[in-house]
């Protein structure tokens, strides 16, 4: 049973990744211009035909598109993610140096937003329709409606004025080197990311809670005379945890590729910045490999969430 489930999931994963590969490749090629014009801008116009040909050969865009695709795929399958034509650095090492930043950002944002979101959701669900519910829900709506870049820009302005903080990739240090130095750069962007996440998690928690609170076993528990807190934590939260875990998992996967704006505004050298710079420079190898990497991570996280889900909910194992 589990075997069949796993192999079906893996097959789906593979199909998804193959689809992503093709789409990214095609979309990149469909953009106007190429690595040469992306780099030289209007000055590309002063190059002679011979010079252009030499540059196109260097950037690998002189070959037919299908040939570019097959050679990229072939090297990909052997674990070679290509070389950034912009900097001459292997893409794998670019990704490996950017990954910890994005990963840490995502983990921090989840660590902050999950307890807060769940707590707020419980608070709202404890008196549905009353003032605190309306209050929390309104906050949630605001949190969802505020675009990330607005929150981030305002946050930077305020933090600069109050805490003398400003985004500076030059002072980014890995967590392993200095915990406080690292957190001083990472905490604010993680907090900003959390605004939308808290709202999402809060709303999911609230509705899951309300649903679970209206079930027979809760009424029974109340009838047995259990304390309201015990009912909420032992019975309601436990049963409401499945949609919460699902939403947190999905959000985490999304964060791995969804921190582009935050990384740009807070000047963090993560996957989002890598991707954005790659697109602007039409650095094909960087974009293709990074997108594929992010897609792979996303699919992997989803798979893990599904497996957790099956662990949490005995009913899911039967399906």
């Amino acid at each position: 049973m589990t075997w069949r489930y796993l192999s079906a999931r893996l097959g789906g994963t593979f199909a998804t990744l193959a689809g992503v590969t093709v789409i990214v490749f095609v979309v990149l090629r469909a953009l106007p211009g190429d690595a040469v014009t992306a780099r030289l801008g209007t000055q590309a116009g002063v190059l002679t035909g011979e010079q252009l040909a030499a540059l196109e050969r260097y950037y690998g865009v002189d070959q037919p598109v299908w040939q570019q695709f097959s050679s990229w795929l072939a090297s990909m399958l052997t674990g070679n993610l290509g070389v950034s034509v912009d900097s001459g650095v292997p893409v794998l090492s670019l990704i490996l140096s950017a990954l910890p930043v994005t990963l840490e950002l995502a983990v921090l944002a989840i660590l902050i937003s999950t307890p807060v979101g769940v707590a707020l959701g419980m608070l709202a669900a404890s008196r549905p329709g009353r003032a605190r519910d309306v209050g929390v829900q309104t906050l949630g709506l605001v949190g969802l409606a505020l675009p990330e870049f607005v929150v981030a820009s305002v946050a930077v302005a305020v933090l600069a004025a109050v805490f003398s903080y400003f985004p500076d990739p030059g002072s980014y240090v890995p967590l392993t080197e200095s915990v406080s130095g690292n957190l001083s750069q990472m905490l604010y962007p993680a907090l900003v990311l959390s605004v939308g996440l808290v709202a999402t998690i809060m709303r999911t928690t609230r509705s899951a809670f309300l649903e679970a609170a209206n079930t027979d076993f809760v009424r029974t528990a109340r009838g047995k005379g259990l304390s309201p807190m015990r009912i909420r934590v032992r019975h309601v939260l436990h049963n409401a945890s499945i949609p919460i875990v699902t939403i947190v998992g999905i959000q985490f996967g999304y964060l791995l590729g969804g921190t582009v704006i935050i990384e740009q505004i807070f000047a963090l050298p993560g996957l989002g910045r890598l991707l954005l710079t790659g697109i602007l420079k039409q650095d094909y190898a960087v974009v293709q490999s990074t997108v594929l990497f992010v897609a792979f991570a996303f699919v992997l996280v989803n798979l893990l969430v599904d497996l957790t889900y099956r662990g949490l909910d005995p009913r899911a194992r039967l399906r």
Binding site: T42, G45, Y165, F166, D168, L187
Partner: protein, 514 residues
């Protein structure tokens, strides 16, 4: 009761943790005190280490600190010695002989000789290099080292601007051995005032003073050029005292600087904002139509809208040393809407016309403001600009193929007028398509001025060129671009340059107050 307490406890704990966490007030270890590195914040990283193929000005200004050129241009636009101490142009104008400086060494210790200069120029001319500088050296037929200290450049025709080309960062002198070994672009080994220490891509470039520099060694020991993508963040960092210098281009950011916090230098650059008209298309092929458009645009108002009134209106030529009236030659001076309407009506466009107009967005802050200001003004004479905002790749593609009626452009300038417009308005010019207009008179003036070394004659010819360009109105020139340098209050000796060069960092120091 129990529940309430627990809940309150949890909430307090959360609040406390937030307070504690946000209270971790970040302090950058690097700044403060004159011992730390001198930190320059700017919006973009360098995009390579090979000066010959660099086009981004961040790259050029950075490599310019580590490399030297044969000559330099000063603020007045005159050629000054650098690695070459002296130069002679033969009477027929076809041979340039440069005497090179003695006792100059590369950062790796190798001695600089004429062979290095020869190899550098040969590399630029090699099509395989793909250097944009090559088009400016098109008249060079041969380069040869004559002994260790003399470089001879043979030209197929007189080309006065060639000395200005030798002052461009793109012609930075490389070590011949690096060229043959292919190390150029992977290592930075120049003769400049700063040595290359490291490049952390997307983060910073670190340079150290070259104590063996042939000129005066820099006072700053270490310079860090950091990438802060957002200009407001650069301003915040300057306010917090974490940077020594910030380079921004958005006038609305510069506008927020108060003089207590920092010093502000507003420096016009060689590049210029212009409304390019495509004289190959539709109504714009007719001179009166282009002139009507030129008559209707009030540059002063564009400067007000986009630059809060700072900055200067400009004519075609921004090269220092060629300071001509910015409006002389224009069909109307000052702007005259009635005259413009009449010209349009006489040309048969009394009902107005529409122009498909491309605007590059995302590269410079003022693009949209300038486009909208020009759009609003032309509306008054019935000329409708259909603005198409395009990302750089889309824009460049359309621009190179002249796929537009009009383009709101920020074009690069040069220290020599021929270098600015030879590539647009001469016969067989490489950028003839986006130039839009081909005119024998423009070609003649440009060629003539570039053939003579007589400065008075050049002044006169380029003056005529400017008037002709304004009269023919292939484009409508608006104003010079601006760069803003934010400097810490303790920074001394830095001079902004029209070329956007940062070479003055070699003369910069931090006072005791830092």
């Amino acid at each position: 009761m129990h529940t309430v307490n627990l809940r309150r406890g949890l909430f307090t704990a959360f609040l406390l943790s937030v307070v504690v966490l946000t209270g971790c007030n970040p302090t950058s270890e690097s700044q403060q005190g004159s011992g730390g590195p001198f930190i320059v914040a700017r919006t973009a990283d360098i995009d390579g280490r090979d000066p010959a193929v660099a086009t981004a000005f961040q790259t050029l200004q950075t490599l310019g600190l580590a490399y030297d050129t044969l000559v330099e241009t000063n603020d007045a636009g005159e050629i000054e010695p650098s690695l070459a101490t002296d130069w002679q142009v033969s009477d027929d104008g076809k041979t340039v002989t440069l005497t090179l400086r003695d006792g100059v060494t590369f950062h790796n210790g190798a001695t600089f000789t004429a062979a290095d200069a020869e190899a550098t120029i040969d590399r630029l001319l090699d099509p395989k290099t793909g250097s944009v500088v090559a088009s400016n050296l098109a008249n060079v037929s041969a380069v040869r080292a004559d002994g260790d200290n003399t470089l001879v450049i043979e030209l197929s025709r007189p080309d006065t601007a060639v000395l200005n080309v030798l002052a461009l960062n793109g012609t930075s002198i490389l070590d011949e051995k690096d060229i043959t070994s292919g190390a150029v672009g992977r290592e930075v080994n120049g003769t400049g005032p700063f040595r290359w220490e490291s490049w952390q891509q997307g983060e910073k470039v670190t340079l150290r003073a070259n104590q063996d520099y042939w000129g005066e060694a820099p006072q700053l020991d270490t310079v860090e050029l950091r990438v802060i993508p957002d200009e407001s963040s650069i301003l915040s960092g300057m306010r917090a005292g974490s940077f020594d210098m910030g380079i921004v281009t958005d006038p609305s950011v510069a506008d927020q600087v108060s003089s207590d916090d920092m010093q502000l230098i507003s420096q016009p650059t060689l590049s210029y904002h212009v409304l390019q008209l495509n004289a190959q298309r539709g109504p714009l092929t007719e001179l009166p139509v282009r002139q009507a458009i030129a008559c209707a645009i009030d540059r002063e108002q564009v400067v007000q809208t986009a630059y809060f009134g700072q900055g200067e209106e400009t004519g075609p030529i921004t090269s220092p040393g060629y300071d001509f009236a910015s409006t002389e030659g224009l069909p109307c001076d000052p702007p005259d809407l009635d005259a413009a309407r009449k010209m349009l009506a006489d040309a048969g466009y009394a009902d107005g016309l529409r122009l498909q107009t491309i605007v590059m967005v995302g590269e410079y802050a003022t693009a949209t403001n300038i486009a909208q200001s020009v759009q609003a003004q032309l509306k008054k004479i019935g000329v409708t600009l259909d603005l198409q905002q395009q990302q750089i790749n889309v824009y460049v593609d359309n621009w190179l193929n002249a796929n537009y009626d009009a383009a709101v452009a920020l074009n690069g300038g040069d220290t020599d007028p021929y270098l600015m417009y030879g590539r647009y308005f001469t016969d067989n010019a490489s950028l003839a398509k986006p130039a839009g207009l081909s005119d024998p008179r423009l070609n003649q003036l440009l060629q003539q001025a570039n053939t003579t070394t007589d400065e008075a004659q050049r002044q006169q010819l380029f003056g005529q060129l400017q008037q002709e360009l304004l009269r023919l109105s292939p484009w409508v020139w608006l104003q010079q671009n601006q760069s803003y340098y934010l400097l810490g209050n303790d920074v001394e000796g830095f001079q902004a340059q029209i070329t956007e060069s940062l070479d003055a960092l070699a003369d910069t120091s931090r006072g005791a107050s830092g």
